[in-house]
């Protein structure tokens, strides 16, 4: 179970860190409906994270909380997109669009995994991610085609997030040797190329032409926003080692 656990941990970290970022929006959203919507997405992501971390931890005799609260920055494997700061609402929507397209194709493929736990988690998650994708697409359209200001901010939002797209579709080192069990993210690229440029064009926006950042999240390399995110997330748990909540 070792290799599958390693793979599941990476997916779990992606979802956990995104949930943490989305959680920062609560009571700050542009309207109450968005407090609810972003909260929903955060909750779903947190649910996916818990399933994956619990599964990963079961191989090592660790709980989801031991994994979430007692690893250091270099032990987190999430890809860097998910740790990007919220920025303004347009940046959050850009990040969520990219994340949702990715999760949608990932979980669709993973639902056919020969590993029954991964397949079950993915089958449940994909339905939720469909809703997240729809939410992002609706906002992409509204902001892209709304006002001059919103158009400009949505374009800037895409540009802010764009460098982190490449890493998502690069090889996952923990997927190697797990044919039929794990999904090679490179196989999902075609779907991104098929869907996203069209969505961006529909929203009267321009596909950014910006080089991709290096990435390395799966190997524990993170951007400088990760440290403060973890400091806040882990502070209470670490102040009471061994406590139950």
């Amino acid at each position: 179970p070792g290799p599958v656990a390693d793979y599941a941990l990476g997916l779990g970290d992606d979802a956990l860190v995104l949930a943490q970022r989305l959680g920062e929006w609560i009571a700050h959203a542009p309207e109450l409906e968005e407090d609810v919507a972003l909260g929903n997405i955060a909750l779903d992501q947190l649910g996916h994270a818990r399933s994956m971390l619990t599964y990963a931890g079961s191989a090592w005799g660790k709980t989801e909380d031991e994994l979430a609260y007692f690893r250091g920055e270099s032990e987190f494997r999430n890809r860097q997109l998910f740790e990007r700061p919220n920025g303004d609402f347009a940046v959050t929507i850009a990040r969520q669009l990219v994340a949702s397209v990715y999760f949608d194709s990932l979980y669709t493929a993973l639902a056919d995994s020969t590993d029954p736990t991964l397949a079950a988690i993915a089958a449940k998650a994909v339905k939720e991610v469909d809703y997240h994708l729809d939410h992002s697409v609706q906002w992409l359209l509204r902001l892209g085609r709304g006002t001059e200001l919103s158009h400009e901010r949505m374009q800037r939002g895409l540009e802010t997030i764009w460098p982190f797209v490449g890493e998502l579709y690069s090889a996952d080192p923990f997927a190697e040797g797990l044919d039929g069990v794990a999904v090679d993210p490179r196989t999902l690229q075609a779907r991104f190329d098929d869907v996203v440029p069209r969505l961006i064009a529909d929203a009267s926006l321009t596909l950014p032409a910006i080089p991709f950042a290096r990435g390395g999240g799966r190997d524990g390399r993170h951007s400088e926003s990760m440290g403060p995110l973890l400091a806040e997330m882990q502070v209470l748990a670490r102040a009471h080692p061994g406590a139950k909540w």
Binding site: V36, V235, H240
Partner: protein, 320 residues
């Protein structure tokens, strides 16, 4: 001419309204109702909505720091429920002829009231337990009778809200129970938090009956069903045995079972404190409204974009 029609309608309406109340039936939006009844309801429902919205903040404060993923999920869901409650209550108030934007504007400009309890802060995780157990507990005592409020949309919203609130209260109790079964530091955290929240929670029922001018009319209109002091007594009677299960001490040395009354006696509350917070001098009054206002102002461009897009779409639809 128009006037006399209105007067005729008024007379017929008033009779019908009185009959509805007498029979404990619901008043619906299309029914005639006295202006005072309408205004009282708008004030009460919108204040309740505002309280839900502002109440997201003291708990939202711990979402990013919740000490376990399970608790983080429960807390996120709870804060989200509060936003949902705010939304249905605004809808209920809208049936009385006030716009949501008007109400929200009253909130963020500081003109509207909301429950003073949310002007207290949440410096520790145990406050998530105390808010659930004490604040939601008090809210339920207040709100269960409101499920029978004479105004239909309000009563029905309260049925749904009460169901969720009682779930929240149980979660708060569980947070405290887990802390009380935990380490010394956790037990101390729980006790310290309950010490801070107990009296403010008791004050949530409002001033003593002698000092509560609007209560009588609200009771006549079947909006309010019990007096402030009755509700407060009911709450204390509920808390004492629960505190025993928790192993937590309620910070009132005067609490004692009164065989004669069949109720727990309890000490005087510090109403000066209540009035201080009400007057804006609580620990967080200055922050709560400002935060929501900032979120609203920073989100203005988003809402404008959504409106512009919707307008353009409807123009397209008409044209096509």
């Amino acid at each position: 001419m128009a006037e006399s029609t209105e007067t005729m309608d008024d007379d017929a309406g008033a009779a019908r309204f009185a009959e509805l109340l007498a029979n404990e039936h619901r008043v619906e939006p299309t029914d005639w109702m006295p202006e005072g009844y309408r205004k009282t309801l708008i004030r009460q429902i919108s204040q309740h909505a505002h309280s839900e919205i502002i109440g997201m903040q003291p708990e939202g404060n711990w979402i990013t720091r919740a000490p376990s993923l399970k608790r983080k999920a429960i807390l996120m869901a709870k804060v989200q429920d509060e936003a949902g409650h705010g939304l249905y209550l605004y809808s209920a108030a809208q049936t009385l002829g006030i716009e949501r934007e008007t109400m929200f504007d009253q909130l963020i400009t500081g003109k509207a009231k909301y429950s003073s309890i949310f002007n207290y802060t949440t410096p520790t995780w145990a406050d998530m337990g105390s808010i659930g157990w004490l604040v939601d507990g008090a809210a339920i005592c207040n709100q269960v009778p409101l499920c029978r409020a004479s105004y239909g949309p309000y009563g029905r919203a309260m049925v749904r809200i009460c169901k969720e609130e009682s779930f929240h209260q149980r979660q708060g109790f569980e947070i405290l129970l887990q802390l009380m079964r935990g380490t010394d530091a956790q037990r101390a955290m729980a006790q310290e938090s309950v010490n801070r929240w107990y009296a403010p929670a008791l004050m949530m029922f409002g001033p003593p009956d002698d000092d509560s001018p609007n209560s009588k009319q609200s009771m006549a209109w079947n909006i309010k069903r019990f007096s402030n002091d009755d509700l407060r007594q009911r709450f204390v009677d509920m808390l004492v045995p629960q505190a025993e299960i928790l192993g937590i001490t309620l910070p009132d040395p005067d609490i004692a079972w009164n065989e004669g009354r069949g109720h727990y006696d309890f000490g005087e509350l510090d109403w000066a404190e209540f009035h201080e917070v009400l007057a804006g001098r609580g620990p967080a009054n200055a922050i709560r409204v400002a935060r929501r206002r900032t979120a609203h102002e920073e989100g203005a461009w988003v809402r404008e974009a959504a409106r512009a897009y919707a307008d353009a779409r409807s123009t397209e639809r008409i044209a096509s």
